[in-house]
Symmetry: D2
């Protein structure tokens, strides 16, 4: 009760002045003050382990020293902060490093578009160019997809509550079952039957858009085989393949792009969230040169030139100069996977299953409300972790990729205690 | 030719690695390095006067000293950079200052929504909530309106090239003539006849959205009388009035909100661009409490919590604690107005007319291509100024509001020289 | 009261078994049994003068003797009744007569499409082919237009009650003011400004569709000058001009096509209602050969081959072999016009104005509910006449074109008595 | 060649004056003159057996004597031909007979709506009322569905060529796999997973619309079990079930409604084609009284009152006063089924399978173009039979229900000869 009263005081400004649409400040009712690496502290000095990473935006952790220093230096020398798509040094440096460190070694050939600083800008630009170059309108998306909140992106997003928020019917999209969406059925054969059939009611689409691991949709990781088959379908029907790597990219699954293990070559790739390195708004759309058919300015946006983000983004790329970062992620991913499997096994009351890959994993719990209770209990214990999935049924683990094993163990321990606490209270 | 060669070298990275969609780096083919107040410098050390202000994002000038210092201090103390809609100190401070300095003294009652960090996020959220609370789908927009590039905002944007970029028909919007769009006709009577007629084909709309001064659309300033009449129409038919003050707000026209002289009370207001103070991505949507009917998280976005922007934004608000800032803007607006009128009068070959109000003014030139040539000549001379309007027929003046009279005169002089140069070459 | 009880009995079947959507049987609560020329009789033997003509379907009157005989002969010889678009003798004969009697003498060159037997089929096919051949999606329609009740036609229909009936937002149409829709404003200049403006929000349309006299919309007759200007606009921007002559065509305004006096050459013309001669379902779409770009069967329909209708339709065309029919219509139109003007002048309490041309005229009454009351009083007196207009404010006169002057005078007399009766009761 | 020349002459009028959209007159290039029962004759006196029945419109055969006589009598007594939805005797009689002979004995409770005289009018009205009463926009339809050619009906029709004919993207519909559309997969489980999932991207629909046997889509007969499951799904989620019985109803499958063997109680039923008895345009929409929530006139149409059709329709209903008609259909259906199975077995080169039920059967041939060749050969031999299916891969048998066994055998024999001829020519 004391806490509640205190919270009331602490959260008063948000409760009174901010729109009721706010969400995270409800589940984590405190005011955060400081953060470093995989830790945060609130104004009461309480420490939190971060298994959330800004919903996948802080892969490189909070307040990386080198990034901080570069930002400070740039500000001190009166560097250009805001530049739309004018030429600036940080933009130039980022473009060059991204080419040299990321694209070339992976044998990928893309033009880089700055579509505005958020994920939904990247998705909207991807849909536009795909429709323009193919002359088609439909885009195929998958069940439980999440691609953004503006009308174009929302049209390819599955969540019904978010879709209803548009207040208008959403058009030009067709949803197909994601890998394993329907038990015992073959989602690839299903999709093919709709494309093959001249009477299927589904027009030849401009593009297929997908996340290789669906984050908001419930940590559903497509198999590499499924992803490869989708690419083959795209090639067969000359459909553009758009990978939305906004959450699963930037190393989250162990490789820079989440689709690397599938050995595919998408036509368009959307990146945002952790591409900005330190959590500043930034997004890019990668487009195969053959499809880069924009009229200058046909898509634009005021914040395409967020130079502080470019600086941190370039610094972040240095992690990818060799394999060490990737190997470290995979090692921690294995630890996390084992932990999750232990939870599933040791706590059958959770009716749980393990999900995900890399450091994008989750425990899906088929008991109503349970995942939310566990996340609340975790918050009380000092662990920041949230749910995902259409019914908030998944406890989602997105620790910063730079977390050390000690931090990981500590977080996992708090989570197990939270599980025990919630189950005990039943 | 030498310049061209040099440019080729300077711009190589952008030309080779970036998407062809880039636009500003074409008209201003250089790499900018530093900026302060109303000036920029490129990597060759050339100085530029800024009559563009990041398309209205840098009302407070480049690299304001106090803002810089606060950013540096915050970074140094490991302040939270990225926080979605979690509680943080900069978010709290901004909310409180915005309430105390902006809303209360103007007797305005709004909930503040953080819809994502760009203007189009603000517009999309405004359209969503208007449709949700009214249960209607149509939104009335005006000719030459510009509200953003994502499908929802683009649907209420007039520009045909941008609309075609969507690759799909855009729905749920109806365009009405903006003040003075059609000569000798009464746009208010026209709009009313469509609303009154049970056979007009135009459904009762959820909202009317407008910019009081259309920036991208050609610096078309609606009269206060027209704006008041639109508000009266909204009240009569219980239509929500959305003011998109993304470019015209934050002091651009002399008052914080551009609609203050019309003495109206909009239901929803969109702010972005200069709301972030120093050019960092930020946007807010102001919603009358009665219409703040969101489900938590019904609209969201990764970069709703850009704390560096909140810090600069709060510092920027301090300009509005008394009338001095407003008075200074108006004084400079008068100087600019007189200059524009002189140009119109002295150079009849321009077939020009004066447009706009506050420090959002323009010269519309009814000679094909002329405005663009003048802007190019200005760039050569060290003045950053761009065109707007459906046919790029307007030279648009958006100097930082903090520009001093010396800077203003210097810029105007360069512009006149550019006019003379271009006219001489004919 | 006795009548009410009788009606209750008479109308029981319709009230109990039929959907509440039924409308005419409410205003005219009786069961009709016989009809001939311009007269109907109900099961009680009461005679009615017909100023309605099946909403413009019975231009040639009820049960024309020659048509009846040809139908009976055809049925007796086991002629094909239903033939889709197979070749049959009546189809052949109609095509040839239509070519020889209607198209050739007017120097018009069209392919004849049988799009299904109703007006809305003709409009839907017109919209489809216009969109197909231009590759554009928008169609411009006019305030108070009525083109049909299926989703494509309804999208270009203005009436808000009917539009809401769709239960979905209606897209791909833009409404412009019909001639004289807004007082003292120039609807042509207005339309042009939307087409010229690159920022108007209105895409270059596939087609402009219009009725030269709007029937359901309130007997609004466009001036010939206005119609010519619309045609000029279409030519200038390469927009297809579709004339919906379903109600105003087939002689209703004095010439076979309603647009003949304007001397225009539409790209597509829709005909239905009286094209079938005796009231049997039939419609045709006339398409300039250059735009007849269908794939075989791309549009189809079960009742494209209503042979009984073709037989009556061909017989009806014989009225057009010389000018006599046309002259007779015009003579009666003058009588009707004078009557209407007298009513407007003699009964100022009606706050009325005269509308329409040919035998498609009306009295618009700017007193709520008055037109309906007058039509009810007329029914009591034995005159079938209905209202139109967005607020049912117009008493609409559509007598069969074959009515004689005696019948016309008799009907007008009943109408005047009805006016007097209703005004007296106030 | 002589035939070709003759045809050229015969078909000249259609080729020269009619739109290229015509289709049946291409496959059957002759001019038909007479018809009776299950036979037609062309102007050359050639006799044809009819296995097509006007695409299911002539279930009661051509020119039924009683119907003919009643039409002639009515015309002779100057009966009202065209009446919109005014009360007339034929409308009254039809309503009463339909209630007494069809609805009551089957324990079905529906209001009868006359939505206009064609199938697509019935479907459009069904979609409207379903959307209105539920307040939802999406309608679920099935692969290979055919519901009509106007934009509303076309949106729920699967055929891609027909859909593209609209020239605009078609919205507010979602296609699910029809029974057996995808091999070895469970279409019911699939549909349920989309409805259950809060993240499936498919909104709760207003209605599910289906044909129990898809005619145009390839004679795909859903199992009774599947139909029952669809009804259960509708009940569970409060979705309206619309049965489009336009082709499969009116006895085509052996019972009056095609869904009777499934023992379901649909919310809305669409009837057209053979409901008019003799091939005259007519359609009705049956609506559960609880959903009959129209505003008077909210949906309308000029040809809602086709009295000649009502007369033939009422006469046709007399076939259903006892079981004899139904039994006779089933007997002939068995003969036809055995024939088809024999063809499949005896001619393995056809790579064929049997499809359909009642007198709505087909042979699907998985060899490109074969079905069309066989239909052409049949026409040469005097048999009218057409293909269906998304790739015209099915030879479709729709003999008039009144055909006698001799006629059936004769037609089947001609078909076998046609198969032999075509196979021999390979």
């Amino acid at each position: 009760m004391t806490t509640a009263v205190l919270n009331d005081t602490k959260m008063k400004t948000f409760e009174e002045l901010e729109s009721v649409v706010r969400s995270y400040s409800r589940g984590w009712p405190t005011v955060f003050e400081k953060s470093k690496g995989y830790k945060l502290w609130d104004i009461d000095g309480k420490e939190y382990i971060d298994f959330f990473a800004g919903a996948g935006t802080l892969n490189y952790g909070h307040n990386d020293e080198k990034m901080q220093q570069k930002l400070i230096d740039y500000i001190k020398q009166d560097g250009i902060i805001h530049s739309l798509d004018m030429g600036t040094i940080p933009r130039k440096n980022f473009l060059e490093s991204f080419q040299d460190i990321i694209l070339k070694p992976r044998n990928l050939d893309y033009k880089v578009m700055f579509p505005g600083p958020t994920g939904t800008n990247a998705v909207e630009s991807a849909l536009k160019i795909a429709r323009k170059v193919t002359g088609r309108d439909t885009v195929i998306s998958f069940t439980n997809a999440f691609h953004g909140m503006t009308v174009g992106s929302l049209s390819v997003t599955g969540n019904s509550m978010k879709r209803e928020g548009a207040g208008i019917p959403l058009h030009n999209s067709v949803f197909m079952p994601f890998d394993d969406f329907t038990e015992d059925q073959n989602s690839i054969a299903y999709l093919e039957s709709f494309l093959e059939g001249q009477g299927s009611g589904v027009a030849l689409p401009a593009a297929i858009i997908l996340e290789t691991v669906q984050g908001e949709g419930g940590i559903n990781a497509a198999s590499m085989e499924w992803i490869k088959k989708i690419e083959a379908i795209c090639k067969r029907w000359e459909i553009l393949l758009i990978i939305d790597d906004i959450q699963a990219g930037s190393g989250r699954t162990g490789t820079f792009f989440s689709f690397e293990p599938a050995d595919i070559d998408p036509d368009i790739v959307c990146l945002s969230k952790s591409i900005g390195g330190i959590g500043l708004p930034m997004a890019i759309t990668l487009i195969k040169p053959a499809y880069d058919k924009w009229t200058p300015g046909e898509h634009n946006g005021t914040f395409r030139g967020n130079n502080l983000a470019f600086i941190a983004a370039e610094e972040a790329l240095s992690n990818w100069k060799n394999d060490d970062f990737s190997k470290a992620i995979n090692k921690k991913a294995t630890i996390l996977k084992e932990f999750i499997q232990a939870m599933v096994k040791n706590y059958p009351e959770l009716k749980a299953e393990a999900r995900g890959r890399g450091l994008m994993q989750g425990i899906a719990m088929h008991v109503d409300g349970l995942a939310n209770e566990i996340c609340s209990a975790a918050f009380e214990r000092g662990l920041i972790v949230e749910t995902s999935g259409p019914n908030d049924e998944v406890v989602k683990f997105l620790p910063p990729l730079i977390i050390d094993e000690e931090g990981l163990e500590k977080g996992m321990k708090m989570l197990e205690e939270s599980i025990q606490h919630v189950l005990a209270s039943k």
